[in-house]
Symmetry: C2
Subunit: 396 residues, 2 copies
């Protein structure tokens, strides 16, 4: 049996206790637990804050340049410039999705992430090659991190015939969800785009996670169409909308209508706190009961140089961009980057109670807010009861 005893930690900033994990499950949380035997790994927690493993619920690990020689960014300003630049670079740089995903996974583990949902490009040029690379990484690190994959038509679906069939192949090959992107502005046929995706999801009993970058009313219309299909197919709780910038753009009356649709259909929302554009009103949605998650989105790739796979930094950016200054608001941002993401991923036994999986992180800082704004090295990262990172170093 694998025993881990963590002494003197503060779960979610609560009173100081010890935590005993046995075979990857939290078995006891109490003050003054004595070591069950000489083969127990005993870690002194120094009164640090313990939180469940961070959840990066939207990223693109198949195509990061992390760990490669620096690449000067050169794409033009439009979405289509970036997509075409990416396709060109993919050919020229001969990137390996397996190596890219492994590099990002190691960085994420350093930063305390125990769960990742990653969108994986599928198109008529690369077929399922990216999915295969990510699946190899997932298999290799299956004890160190949980990875969910979304088959993602980055380059469009209906506008590139053959893509929908490939997406279905990807799902058959093990992708956990099916993705979509901008049904009107990219694919030019919002009903057709969404019908195709939901049909594949329905036939293969997988969830849906759709990128909606569309602004204002056009984005709102996409949400309406997604909600209609979620309801018709009984997909409540299985659908996530990523980005949804429009929720930060529409007027209050229409926002209320959209929030009702999200609640009625248990549709969750992902925001990574974009730097330059409106984004969903986090606290408004959170207080209404919408399930929220966050993610790194692309880090250091052909789309831009930013990001480091640190979900504490993402919580900081959510707060900074939203002008949240109170501790309770930043604690909400951390909750989104932990419990919110876990709900969206459908993670069972997530948390710090007895019976939960032993997936947790020991933070630097007196309070959760200090941990978020300071973002010191993670003192300890545990996955399945095993230490995977310590003092900021990935141990695997």
């Amino acid at each position: 049996m694998n025993h881990l005893l963590l002494k003197n930690v503060r779960p979610l900033e609560g009173d100081t206790v010890d935590v005993l994990a046995v075979d990857g499950t939290i078995q006891k949380v109490a003050a003054g637990i004595s070591s069950p035997g000489p083969d127990t790994a005993v870690i002194e927690g120094e009164n640090r804050i313990l939180v469940p493993g961070l959840v990066d619920c939207h990223t693109h690990i198949d195509k990061t340049f992390w760990g490669l020689p620096w690449h000067r960014h050169q794409a033009g300003p439009r979405l289509i410039d970036r997509i075409e630049n990416e396709r060109r670079l993919r050919r020229e740089m001969n990137l390996s999705p397996e190596i890219s995903s492994e590099n990002q996974v190691r960085q994420a583990i350093r930063m305390g992430t125990t769960h990742i949902r990653t969108h994986v490009d599928v198109d008529t040029e690369i077929g399922l090659r990216h999915l295969e690379g990510v699946q190899a990484t997932r298999e290799r690190f299956k004890n160190q991190i949980t990875i969910q994959t979304v088959a993602f038509p980055q380059s469009g679906m209906l506008i590139r015939p053959g893509t929908a069939q490939l997406l279905e192949e990807a799902v058959k090959a093990g992708a956990d969800l099916i993705g979509g992107i901008d049904p009107s502005s990219m694919d030019r046929d919002p009903a057709g785009h969404l019908d195709t995706i939901f049909d594949i999801a329905d036939r293969h009993a997988v969830g849906v996670d759709i990128h909606v970058h569309e602004h204002g009313m056009l984005g709102g219309f996409a949400i309406e169409l997604i909600a209609e299909r979620t309801k018709a197919l009984g997909f409540q709780g299985k659908v996530n909308i990523s980005h949804a910038f429009c929720l930060g753009m529409v007027d209050e009356e229409y926002l209320n209508q959209l929030v009702d649709l999200l609640l009625e259909n248990s549709i969750s929302i992902m925001s990574h706190a974009p730097g330059y554009i409106a984004f969903p009103p986090i606290k408004r949605l959170f207080q209404a009961g919408v399930v929220l998650c966050s993610g790194s989105d692309g880090i250091r790739d052909s789309w831009g140089p930013y990001g480091n796979a640190d979900m504490l930094e993402r919580a900081m950016l959510l707060g900074y961009r939203s002008n949240y200054r109170k501790d309770e608001d930043l604690e909400m941002c951390l909750e989104i980057a932990t419990f919110g993401g876990a709900r969206v991923m459908g993670t069972k036994l997530y948390g710090l109670e007895v019976g939960c999986r032993a997936d947790f992180v020991l933070l630097s800082g007196e309070t959760r807010t200090e941990a978020i704004v300071s973002r010191g090295p993670r003192k300890l990262v545990v996955k399945n009861g095993l230490i995977v990172a310590r003092d900021g170093d990935c141990l695997i």
Copy 2:
């Protein structure tokens, strides 16, 4: 004589050279410099990028909570709520401006900052106490960091009779510049506010640095009035406007008029890349020739929990908020956080050429952009030819 030989560094990402500093001045920059003698400190630069010391050109070191027990933030949302909350906390917490400023200075040095311009609160309740505290810190660290002080009427000037006299006292007591704040919305008399400040500046031959948070046309009007006084008094090159959110709000035609006023009067602009509000169009101003600087603004104080005195993070935020993805744009942000700030502060002999002061930082990262987006520990920070921080630790 104090000799420092830095081997194998890349000044501003250029070719690898050695840099020899003697008595605080860069004496030689060339490949293959041999050590002038046994008392020379020789540092291996490992081919890292060398940049001049970072310049934090707008902060509030007199009132940070950095280094103190965590304080839960509780101010209301309005500017006036925050100012009143600050005044209350100042009394209740019995903060020491000397300790606060010392704590922030040590953190800034760790992060590679060699020059700080700090606004220091002056009002009828605290008089010059904050200035005295900051001056004590400045004296104590005079060889380790350059500090400029702005006498700053945070709580208003005309609306609190006696404040203008105290500001003048502060200038007589050694404040390097005189500050101001929102001449219309806070002080209710824009012409009166600015006349008072410029009169003090003129009689004591000090520069001016004014906080303008005012939105849209009201902020633009403040800039017009500041430009008129700058011209009338021949103050070109001595006036900085901090925040100037309005430059990111007005229409293109009026923006062009304001930019012309800034250029004609050599008025510089400071932006710290606020998270939640419009801010100046950085590249537009930079390309027009407006001198730009950046700063931490308040870090971890009664205004909010954010910030860590890291000017590389500030360069990242400037880029992130502006949607700059190209390396050349992030290099501009770093230039603002170094050369721009040095120009605004009137720093002589700043740079990496022979004859410049030996104030520089050795960064982690293959390129300047990587250094900005990664923000690893600063490998070496040198001020006046002396090592003040190494591997992220402040040595003083």
